[in-house]
């Protein structure tokens, strides 16, 4: 279970995350929604130990991320703005990640095949399309066959085939009793696969719960979202 409790994060004088609390349960897909700058990525960065919390806690399996042993075996994450070095080959990018967590080398080829990059494994990342880079990021998240998947904008740059593949991947992960937390701008995709949603606006949680409850009284998740954040745009 992922438990975020009264989390606050400031960057200089800007409060990016303000007293945020929510829980992500196993066997379910939780969508983290919010406009640009709402605090979604900051919340994920604190949860994953990249940024220090100002106050509050963010726990995975009851522990802060940085206390996990071989964390890639527990949590697979795809984060916007944390990408591979373009000059490195795809297979080498996954090789160092695997080695750091003592994941067998064979798993690298396995996940490259899984995300459809088997044929491009030895190409430099700079030659990859945006969609291929996204697939490489997802391969990195899957490397440790983790219990938790935390994905920031997982559909970025993917074509319709890729979008469907990610949708099935996420649903399959949750169906096997594991936990998925994803952040996205894509309401249609999120509403198609999320069991629960957390809506953040200006650093604060404005709604959370099962998707049916959050969208009750609205014709769609998108309509509910705009009503919640107070914008009809």
């Amino acid at each position: 279970m992922i438990e975020i409790s009264r989390l606050t994060k400031r960057y200089g004088g800007t409060t990016a995350v303000d007293d945020v609390s929510f829980t992500v349960r196993p066997g379910r897909v939780t969508g983290l929604l919010g406009p640009n700058g709402a605090g979604k990525s900051s919340t994920l960065r604190v949860l994953l130990g990249l940024d220090a919390a100002g106050s509050g806690t963010a726990l995975i399996d009851g522990r802060p991320y940085r206390e996990l042993d071989r964390p890639l075996r527990t949590v697979g994450a795809l984060l916007d703005g944390a990408g591979p070095v373009p000059e490195r080959r795809g297979v080498d990018h996954l090789a160092w990640l695997a080695r750091s967590n003592r994941i067998p080398r064979g798993r690298v080829r396995e996940v490259l095949g899984l995300v459809g990059l088997g044929g491009a494994a030895r190409r430099r990342v700079r030659t990859y399309s945006l969609g291929m880079r996204q697939r490489l990021g997802i391969a990195a998240a899957l490397l440790g066959d983790p219990e938790y998947l935390i994905l920031d904008e997982p559909w970025n740059g993917l074509d319709p085939v890729g979008i469907r593949w990610v949708r099935e991947l996420i649903r399959g992960h949750a169906a096997s009793g594991r936990t998925v937390l994803l952040s996205s701008h894509l309401m249609a995709e999120t509403s198609a696969i999320a069991d629960d949603v957390v809506v953040i606006n200006q650093g604060r949680v404005v709604a959370q719960g099962p998707i049916d409850e959050v969208t009750a009284g609205h014709e769609s998740l998108e309509a509910a979202f705009f009503a919640l954040i107070g914008s009809g745009r």
Partner: protein, 277 residues
């Protein structure tokens, strides 16, 4: 008691994780072509400089006098053994480029946000910082050892018919050890400045500035005690025979060891305390 046990358990976990983290950092280093290109350029420049100096070194041996001295410069004679042992560290001329290599190694983390992935993989910042410094130090050591081997080949070519065992005496290995200490320390200085500033360019400029301060001799005249704390000055104090040195060789060894340990330690503290961006 419980706190002590927890600390000990954490330390044990960190020690167990260190080899894999270092190996991962080495994979990062050797899979970026720019690192190899930089290393190759440094070695090639060493070969080029030594090739240019080869005829002069042959002439130097030809100037060997009955008193055992050779002419190292017009009108300046030195004991032949000292003169040729010094040639074993000819790469000192190229060594100011080693911090560029250190900066390139460290800088890859900050160009595309890879530091975020590194922290995801190794979230204990102290462990990550130690692994990074050890891997960078090891790679720099290997490049410096290659430079030293190149220097040895060129010295051997000159002295083969005179004293072929000269490059393999205990004193010769002591000279190499001095050079390796300096090369790794200075390379790690570039590495550390880059981690602290999160910029390869700043790492390069910072170490060029350190080199220039030594080469201009300004600080040596104004504040010799401060000058002696700079890495390139320490290398000069350790390996060059001159009257205007700013500290003893022993002091220089301590300074270089200090740079090798403290610069990555400061970088590690900075890495541990700030957000991974």
């Amino acid at each position: 008691m419980t706190a002590t046990r927890t600390t000990r358990a954490r330390t044990m976990r960190t020690m167990r994780a260190l080899p894999a983290a270092v190996h991962a950092e080495l994979i990062k280093i050797v899979t970026v072509p720019g690192v190899w290109i930089c290393a190759a350029v440094i070695v090639a420049l060493d070969v080029l400089v030594l090739t240019q100096q080869y005829p002069r070194n042959v002439e130097m041996l030809a100037s060997l006098a009955a008193d055992g001295t050779v002419e190292v410069a017009p009108g300046e004679r030195r004991p032949s053994t000292d003169a040729f042992l010094f040639l074993l560290v000819s790469a000192l001329q190229i060594a100011p480029l080693l911090p560029v290599l250190g900066a390139l190694i460290a800088g890859q983390e900050f160009r595309t946000g890879q530091i975020g992935l590194s922290v995801l993989a190794v979230p204990r910042r102290g462990l990550l910082a130690a692994a990074k410094a050890l891997a960078a130090g090891l790679f720099l050591f290997l490049v410096a050892a290659l430079l030293s081997a190149v220097d040895t080949v060129f010295v051997q070519l000159v002295v083969a018919d005179w004293e072929p065992g000269l490059p393999f005496t205990g004193e010769a290995f002591l000279w190499r050890a001095r050079f390796l200490l300096f090369a790794v320390s200075f390379g790690l200085a570039g590495f550390a400045i880059t981690v602290i500033t999160r910029s390869t360019l700043a790492g390069v400029i910072g170490t060029v500035a350190l080199t220039m301060v030594t080469m201009t001799q300004l600080l040596a005249r104004v504040a010799p005690a401060v000058d002696a704390l700079l890495p390139y000055s320490a290398a000069r104090n350790l390996m060059v025979s001159a009257d205007d040195l700013t500290a003893s060789p022993g002091h220089a060894v301590l300074v270089l060891a200090g740079w090798a340990l403290l610069a990555p330690a400061v970088a590690g503290v900075v890495l541990a305390r700030r957000d991974a961006r």
